[in-house]
Symmetry: C3
C-alpha cells in the first residue's frame, strides 16, 4: 500500500475520490441498501477506511468533523453498531446523538394518512424533518417486525426517514440490508485474501439460531462479495435460500465483476478451500416453514455448527472465521474456533469503525 | 438585519448585551417560568439566537464552550428538547450529560423531612448539590403528575432543583412553563410577521387530544406573545380557560407592551386575519371536568381540529401554522395543513436549537 | 501546596510521577480492587487529582485527551459514577461511551463453555475484545447478584472483562471494591485532616438500610484508610463484620504504614474524637442472618443512625460527616446532619471527578 503520509492532505484527497466515484463530486446521498456507491465508490470508501485506520491518532487530534452532529435513531438494540458509530464520531470530533423511539423519546407513527389517536404521539414525517435540522446525518436502525414478510420487505421505518429527511440517511440495519456491516466484511475479505478478493473462494454458511433472524447481514455479505467479484459459495438448508430479488441483482453484479455465486446444501463441501468462512443464522424468505420446528432437531443443527474440523477443510486449514457478532457460542460456532487461530471476528468488528469513519468523512468533511 | 460579520467579536458583544439586559452584566440566573429575562433580555436572547443561526458553522468550528458541561435531568420523555439541547451543546463544544431518574440513574425523593425507607434511594437535595459540582448548568424536564392540580402548580421537582443547585437551572418544561419553547415560538412569530410581531394578530387555538395535557406550552405562548405586544386571540371551549394567575400577569405585561389578549369560543372567528395559528391541546385548569368525557364526542372535537378551510381564513389565506410538536395528525390538525404551504412547524422546531444556544452562551461563555 | 503554575507542564510531570510510581514508567494496568497503584502510586494519583481540581478550566480548554474514547459498561444504575466519569471525560476532551447491557445493548453471557441457546445473545469474551478496539479504556460497573456470596466474591463480570480486554479495565464498583470511590474518600480524609491523615482517628460506622447492600464501599474505605496509615475505627453490629480476606490484607498494609484498625460495637465510642465519620449500610459477609430481620426492629436501628448528638462527640464536635451517596435521609443519617455544618458529602462527591480525571490522564495522556 502506498498511502500518502500527511494525513490531512491525503484525507482531503481520499474524501475527494469517494465523492468523485459515488457523489458526482459532491457529498454522497443516502446509503440504504449498500448498492448506492457502486463498485468504484465502494473501492474508494475502503481506501479511505484504511487511511483512517493507519492515521487514527493523528486524525483524532485534528478533529476534522468538529461541530458536526449525527443523529442515531435506534428502534432496536445494538452493541457494535452504536459503539462503533459513537467511537468513529468521537475520534473525528463529531457528536453522536443517540435516540431510542419509545424509550426516552417518543414512539413514532410510520403509516401515512391515519388519525393519530393511538399510542404513538409523533409521526415519522415530523421526526425526520425536525431531526434533519438538528443533525447533519440521520443513521437509522430498524429491524423487521417479523410478522409480515411482505410488509417487512417495504422497510417502512428507514424508507419513511429517507423520504422525509432533508439530510442523508444511513442504514444501521434494516430488513434487507446492513451496509456498514457489508463494508466491514468486505474489508475483512480483503484482509483474509491479503488484497482484493477477486476470484477468491469465500463461504457464507447458514447456522442454527434459536430465533428466526432477518437476512440483512447475509444479503449484505452477498452484495459485497458480488461487488468484489469473489467466488461466493452459499451453504444453507433447503427452504432457507436468500431473498430472490436481492440474489438476482447480486448475480448480475457478480458476473459483471468476474465473480461467481453458487449454492451448496453440504456445508463441508462449501468451505473446502475457502479463504474465509462467514457463519450467520437467518430465517426463511417465505413464511412457509418456521425455524422453530427445526431448532429442536439437534442432529440436523449440529451438522451446520462451525467446528474446528470443518475449519480444517479451508485453504491450508487456515481460513478466516468471520461473523458479524453477537454470536451464540456452541450454537453457531464452537468455542474452539472462536478462541482459536481461525477467528478474525474481532478485527472484522474493528473494521466497523474504520468504514463508518470513511462514510462520515465522505458526507461531512 | 445588520449583524456584525466577525462571529467571535459579535458573539462576545451579543452575549454582553444579553448579560447587561438580563443578568446585570453577569451571567444570568435560572430560567424557570420564562419571565426572568424581562422584555429587553428576551429581545437580546433572540438577537443572539439569530446570530448563532447565521454563523452556526463558524461558531461550531471555534467551539466557544469547550470543556463546559450541561446536565440534563429528564423525568419525562422528549425528542426535540433533548435533541436540540444536545445539538446546541455539541456545536458550541459543550458536553450534554443526559440523565433519566429511575432509568439508569437513581429515582429521586422530592419531599423534605421524610424517612427515606421507600422506593427512592436518593434525595433531590443531594442530586442537585452534587450535579452542581460536575456540571455548569442543570437543565430539568419534569411534567406534572396530573393527579393533584394544586400540588402540580408547586412544580416540586424543578423548584427543588432550583432551591438546592449551586449553578443556574434551566427549565426544559414543568407544569406551568416551557420557556425554551416560548422563545422558539417568539422567534417563529417574528418570522411569520417578518419582524417584531408587535400588534400582529396571533391565534392560539385549543385542540382536541386523547390525553389531558399540561398547560406549560400554551402558557409560554401567552407569556411571549404578551412580551411581544402582539394581538393575541385565545380560542378554547368553556372550561378550558388557561391558568388564572399566569393570565393575570400576562395581561399586565401585554398592556405595558401595547398588546391585547382576548378569548374566543369560536375558532373560526379567532383565526380570521391572523398571521399565525398556534394549535395545542391542553387540559382544564380545574379538575371539575375531564377532557375524557369530551374526547369521545367527535362532532364537538372536529370543530376544533385545524383544517385547510380554517387556515384559509388567516391573513391573505397564508397564515403560518405552528405547533410545538409532537403533533397528532388528523386529531389536532389535518395532514393537508401540516404538509401544506401553511406549516412552519419544522422551522419552529429548528428555532429551539438557536434560542437554546443563545441561552447556553449567555450562561457559559 | 506548591503545585507548579503552568498547567500543561505540570500536568505532564504529574502524569509522569503517577506512571513512575504505579506503571513502572508506562501507562498503568487495570484498577480493579484498589490496591494496584500501591501507596506511592495512590499518593501521586491524589496529587494529580489536586492539580486537576486547581486548574480544571485551563485543562478543559486544552482538551488533553481529545480523540480518546472510554467505554462505560453499566450493569447497574448510577448517578455520581456515570455523571462524574462523563464530566471528567468531557472536560479532558475524551468521549465517554455509555452502554447498559440488556437496555439498548445486548445482554451478556458471563459463563465459559456454555451452549448459548438462552436469553443472552452475546458472550463477554466478544464484548471485551471488540470494545477494546473501539475504546482506549473499559470502565465496568457490576454489582453482586446477592444470591450466592461465594459466587459474588468471584466478581464474574469485571473479572471476565479484565481477562479478555486488550486495554486497561477500571472498576466502577464490583462486589468487593469501588476504587474510584475509595480514592475520592481518601481525598476527603485529607481534606478533613487538613493534610495526610496518618494517625488521624477516622470512624467507619455501619448504618441501617432497607436492603442488604454489598461491601464494596466500606471495603474500599478500609483499604484507603489503611494505605493512609489512619487510626481507623469500624463500628458495626455483631454479624456484620467486613470480608475477612480484605480485612487481613488491610491490617497488614495499615501496620506497615503506621496505622491501626479496630472494631467497635458501640457507635458512640467509635466516633469519639474522630475527625471524620463515614456512614454506610452494608450486608453481612456470610448469609447466616439477614438484615431483613433486623430492619423491622427500629429501637435497634435507631441506635446506629447518625445524629447531631453523635456528631457532637467527634473531634471538637466538628468532625466531617461522609457518605458515598445516595444516602437515605433519616434512615442512615438525620437531615440535621446532612444539612448541617458537619456534612462534607458534596465535596466528597466532587472528588470523584478529580480522582477519575487523574486516572484518565495517567492512562490516556
Amino acid at each position: 500500500m502506498s498511502e500518502p503520509t500527511d494525513p490531512s492532505n491525503s484525507l482531503d484527497a481520499a474524501v475527494g475520490r469517494v465523492r468523485a466515484a459515488w457523489g458526482g463530486g459532491s457529498p454522497p446521498g443516502s446509503l440504504l441498501d449498500g448498492w448506492e456507491p457502486g463498485a468504484a465508490g465502494i473501492d474508494e470508501v475502503l481506501r479511505l477506511a484504511r487511511l483512517y485506520r493507519t492515521h487514527r491518532r493523528e486524525i483524532a487530534r485534528a478533529r476534522p468533523l468538529a461541530g458536526r452532529v449525527v443523529a442515531g435513531i435506534f428502534f432496536d438494540p445494538s452493541l457494535r453498531t452504536r459503539a462503533s458509530m459513537e467511537a468513529a464520531c468521537a475520534r473525528l470530533g463529531a457528536h453522536f446523538l443517540y435516540l431510542r423511539p419509545g424509550e426516552g423519546s417518543w414512539s413514532l407513527e410510520l403509516r401515512d394518512g391515519v388519525r393519530m389517536d393511538g399510542a404513538e404521539p409523533e409521526h415519522v414525517r415530523e421526526a425526520a424533518r425536525v431531526l434533519s435540522r438538528y443533525a447533519d446525518l440521520l443513521a437509522i436502525r430498524a429491524f423487521p417486525g417479523g410478522r409480515d414478510l411482505v410488509e417487512d420487505r417495504r422497510e417502512p421505518a428507514i424508507r419513511a426517514f429517507a423520504a422525509h429527511a432533508t439530510v442523508p440517511v444511513l442504514s444501521l440495519e434494516s430488513a434487507l440490508a446492513h451496509p456498514c456491516q457489508g463494508l466491514a466484511d468486505l474489508m475483512a475479505f480483503d484482509q483474509a485474501a491479503g488484497g482484493p478478493p477477486r476470484g477468491a473462494p469465500i463461504c457464507l454458511t447458514w447456522a442454527p439460531h434459536p430465533r428466526s433472524l432477518p437476512q440483512a447481514v447475509p444479503l449484505s455479505v452477498v452484495r459485497m462479495a458480488a461487488v468484489a467479484g469473489a467466488d461466493l459459495r452459499i451453504a444453507c438448508p433447503e427452504g432457507w435460500d436468500l431473498d430472490e430479488e436481492v440474489m438476482a441483482r447480486a448475480r448480475e453484479v457478480s458476473a459483471s465483476r468476474g465473480g461467481t455465486i453458487s449454492v451448496y446444501r453440504d456445508p463441508d463441501e462449501a468451505v473446502r478451500g475457502a479463504i474465509a468462512v462467514y457463519a450467520k443464522g437467518w430465517g426463511p424468505s417465505r413464511p412457509t416453514e418456521g425455524i422453530g420446528e427445526h431448532y429442536g432437531a439437534l442432529p440436523v443443527l449440529d451438522r451446520w455448527r462451525v467446528t474446528a474440523r470443518r475449519m480444517g477443510l479451508t485453504a491450508g486449514g487456515r481460513g478466516a472465521f468471520l461473523h458479524c457478532l453477537p454470536v451464540r457460542r456452541n450454537v453457531i460456532v464452537d468455542d474452539e474456533v472462536l478462541d482459536g487461530p481461525w477467528s478474525r471476528v474481532t478485527e472484522q468488528a474493528a473494521n466497523r469503525e474504520f468504514v463508518q469513519a470513511a462514510l462520515l468523512l465522505a458526507w461531512l468533511l
